[in-house]
């Protein structure tokens, strides 16, 4: 990392990091979680319909 990074580049680099962090934390991770959990639910539902039948005793 060059120590001669200009102030403006430093400023915009900092801004980019914040943008990246907030994007990941507030958009990507929530959407991904919903997709993963929803997908899990969907797969279990399909298993219940075609393979396992309705949920039984236990759990």
């Amino acid at each position: 990392m060059a120590k001669t990074e200009s102030r403006q580049e430093t400023g915009s680099s900092k801004r980019r990091e914040w943008t990246a962090l907030l994007f990941i934390v507030a958009i990507v991770v929530p959407l991904l979680s919903i997709a993963v959990v929803g997908g899990y639910g969907f797969v279990v539902w399909m298993l219940q319909v075609f393979v396992l039948g309705p949920p039984g005793h236990g759990g």
Binding site: R16, V37, G38, H57, G59
Partner: protein, 403 residues
């Protein structure tokens, strides 16, 4: 695209300006907010207000709930939709939430958006829930109702008589308590078993000739094609062939055996078998123009002479199917559901065809089967009794072996 490239460049390197503490704390707070939001979404979609926001629910099952003990009772403890209908266990709950996409579809495309459409689907929808409760032993009921906490002394004698054995068997509540929160499918226990109504809905168009058909319900028999002179009736699941059709009537040829004693009014399915297929009026059973007699045989067990007969009479159209499998499947399901509540149901082949009528009438009072249902189930049992079961396999065969 450029934006993504920039983003990726930033993400793949360690941060230059943001401290570890800032990243961790921001992430943690965001995680908490997300977790709270996710759970809030789960809770909100479980509220009564949410469920009832679809008019299909508000106008139908929500109104029916308000007539029941789960809405209003002495102690004021009540259940909302999700208490019973949404599994509490996490995986099953998530699966059910995804399954709700089906309900979203229904709302958008109006699958049950009129009272008529709803009533048509009521049995199917009810059966979804009944099989769910059957599979998990009425787990959702047990969130509030616990057999171990029931005070037998506080129950009426009649209630205790049923509940105590149920507790000992850890029985699934909904086996007996169907209709506890919403109306039963129309005509259930009142005007007719909807499962039998479904059988008639699958009736096929009939062709005159030698092809065998089976009655999907009990039909009246007539001397004339206009169906004004009543001649008797055909029971459910009886074999016939069709001689001709005229308007909305068909002329049936009903094969059977009868006892050559008295007026010979009852037609049975096989020689020596008390499986009733048709009952004729006196004048019809004695009318040689309508009843053709064939082989004659004496039943050694009783000394009674039997005769093979074929009767030709008119009946309404639209009540016949070309094989009995669907009839037997329905009967088998009803038999299992009705006769395994208190004890394991006997195998149909445990008795022979002529033993079943007495066994059946001795026990049927403990069930809620109406007369047409009883007729179908009894015939199912008789046709799958030891007389009809091959020694090597256990599937019922259509013709009884020689007695």
């Amino acid at each position: 695209m450029k934006l993504l490239a920039t983003l990726w460049n930033t993400l793949k390197r360690p941060p230059v300006h943001l401290s570890l503490g800032v990243v961790v704390i921001v992430s943690f707070i965001a995680g908490v907010i997300f977790w709270g939001g996710f759970n809030t979404a789960m809770e909100v979609t479980n509220t009564e207000k949410f469920c009832v926001s679809c008019h299909e629910m508000e106008d139908n099952v929500y109104q029916e709930l308000q007539e029941t003990v789960h809405w209003s009772n002495r102690t004021g403890v009540r259940a909302i939709c999700s208490d019973c209908h949404v599994p509490h266990e996490w995986t099953a709950k998530i699966a059910r939430k995804m399954q709700a996409s089906k309900e979203v579809w229904g709302t958008i495309f109006g699958t049950i958006d009129t009272p008529e459409k709803f009533e048509e689907k009521r049995l199917e929808l009810a059966q979804h829930e009944w099989s769910r409760f059957q599979a998990n032993g009425s787990k959702e009921c047990r969130s509030c109702h616990d057999y171990d906490s029931m005070d037998w002394e506080l129950m009426s004698d009649e209630a205790r008589r049923f509940m105590k054995p149920a507790a000992e068997r850890d029985q699934s509540c909904v086996d007996c308590h169907k209709g506890i929160a919403h109306h039963l499918p129309e005509d259930m226990n009142k005007g007719g078993n909807p499962m039998l109504a479904k059988l008639v809905n699958n009736a096929v168009a009939v062709n005159a000739g030698s092809e065998a058909y089976y009655s999907a319900e009990s039909v009246d028999l007539y001397r004339d094609a206009e169906r004004t002179e009543l001649a008797g009736h055909l029971t459910i699941a009886s074999e016939v062939t069709v001689q001709e059709t005229q308007g909305d009537s068909v002329k049936l040829a009903i094969p059977g055996w009868r006892k050559e004693k008295g007026f010979g009014r009852v037609l049975y399915e096989g020689f020596g078998q008390n499986i009733t297929n048709a009952v004729l009026e006196k004048d019809v059973s004695q009318d040689e123009a309508l009843v053709a007699t064939g082989e004659q045989k004496v039943d050694d067990l009783t000394g009674l002479p039997w005769a093979q007969v074929t009767v030709e009479l008119w009946a309404k159209k639209g009540a016949y199917v070309d094989e009995r499998d669907a009839l037997w499947d329905t009967a088998s399901e009803i038999y299992h559901d009705g006769c395994s509540v208190c004890h394991g149901e006997p195998d149909p082949e445990h008795f022979d065809a002529n033993t079943w009528p007495a066994m059946f009438s001795g026990m049927v009072g403990f069930t809620n089967m109406d007369a047409p249902t009883q007729s179908l189930v009894l015939k199912y049992l008789q046709k799958h009794s030891s007389d009809y079961v091959d020694a090597e396999n256990t599937t019922g065969v259509e013709d009884a072996p020689e007695q």
